[in-house]
Amino acid sequence: MKHPESCIECGTCVTVCPVEMVGGHAIVTFLADPDATDYSVWLCTSCWRCQEACPAGVNVYELMMQARRREQAPAGYQASFESVLACGLALEVAQEDLDPVRAAWGLEPVRLPPPGLVRSLLRRGG
């Protein structure tokens, strides 16, 4: 990944990152030190604190997302993505399992997304 030119390597992002707080190394490790190799762009909680705290205005989130799209995803992300492709939701659920739970809570019935929806929305334009 190319180190962003606007980054001043001040490390502010590292100090606010919840992943770094528990000993993991996120993209912020690379921002603070362009020579770092021991980090992963998948280690992120999407809390946006690094980007918000950045004094140089680096768009950390977009940088991270673009890097992710070039890499192999961890199994958890892959499974969740495949679920969205298959049924439109990050977790698969059957209508017949959902209906009685909602009824028991007095919640209005809900219909799940139509089959084929997500693949159609994500297909490359032609």
Partner: protein, 285 residues
């Protein structure tokens, strides 16, 4: 009795499938304020962060959901998770670009949908913060609880897009909790993410983040939040956190019932029955 109003409600994957009590408590509290929610039928995943990690086309998922709201005739959609709030709001911002909007509508056309106007995406914290005075007038059972907060990260950041409260040190959730009479206990981690979404990439680190928060808030009666992801990690996965750190259960009394959704706490102060809020009667006084 005030004029009734109806808002659209976007059911995120997690709350829809795992946390019906969050939706039920939300509806019960809003009903007291004269607000009914109409669920968005056939809503799909908001798109972030999972779909966004694979393709920039995630924005068309947000567009689909916003178009459904528009078709219902609503201009505001209520959300209960930080991630959905964030994705739908960023999606709405992206759709202000005429090129993005045109492409979105090209893809939505086969589904009989289109984005033509603007939809305001409002997380429950924001909706309640806007009705603070109305809420204050309806508190009939002030609570004597010590409450630790965890702010739903993605409701406030990026500040430039979310446009609500202070982006790094938001105060809305604190003010709402103080309305109930409860004491807010400081622990310094109010704006630190719980770590739930990290679970998809690294379970150990995610549980470590959750443990850090449960440990830091162990003196409080309640760990209050406003997001399905927080509940997933801090309550549903609590047994996994405790398995790696059995001493935590001794250090933190009432660990099992400590993670609560904002409307559960507010609902108690409004005098609503505990069962209607997904809580056991007799436990909360």
């Amino acid at each position: 009795m005030m004029q009734g109003e109806t808002l659209a409600y976007y059911p995120g994957c997690l709350v829809l499938q795992r946390m019906p009590e969050y939706e039920a408590a939300t509806r019960a509290v809003l009903r007291e304020l004269g607000i009914e929610l109409e669920i968005v039928q056939q809503a799909a995943c908001c798109g972030a962060p999972v779909v966004e990690s694979f393709t920039a086309d995630w924005v068309y998922l947000a567009a689909y959901n916003l178009a459904l709201v528009e078709r219902m005739g609503h201009d505001t959609v209520v959300t209960l998770c930080g991630s959905c709030t964030n994705a739908l709001t960023r999606g709405a911002r992206a759709l202000e670009d005429p090129g993005v909007r045109a492409e979105a509508n090209r893809r939505l056309e086969p589904w009989g949908l289109a984005v033509t106007g603007e939809i305001a995406v409002k997380h429950l914290v924001r909706l309640l913060a806007e009705r603070e005075e109305d809420l204050r007038a309806r508190i009939v059972r002030p609570l004597s609880l010590r409450v630790a907060l965890t702010n739903p990260c993605q409701v406030f950041r990026p500040g430039e897009v979310m446009g609500f409260d202070d982006s790094m040190e938001p105060q809305s959730l604190r003010r709402l909790v103080e309305l109930t009479g409860a004491d807010v206990v400081e622990y310094g981690g109010e704006n630190e993410c719980c770590g739930a979404t990290l679970y998809l990439a690294d379970r150990k680190l995610s549980l470590a983040a959750g443990r850090r928060k449960l440990e830091a808030t162990r003196g409080a009666d309640v760990l209050l939040h406003g997001c399905g992801n927080c509940q997933l990690l801090l309550r549903h996965f609590q047994h996994l956190i405790v398995r790696d750190e059995p001493g935590l259960r001794q250090r933190a009394p009432n660990l099992r019932q400590r993670a609560l959704f904002l409307p559960q706490l507010v609902g108690l102060a409004l005098g609503l029955p505990a069962e209607a809020l997904g809580l056991r009667e007799g436990t909360w006084r």
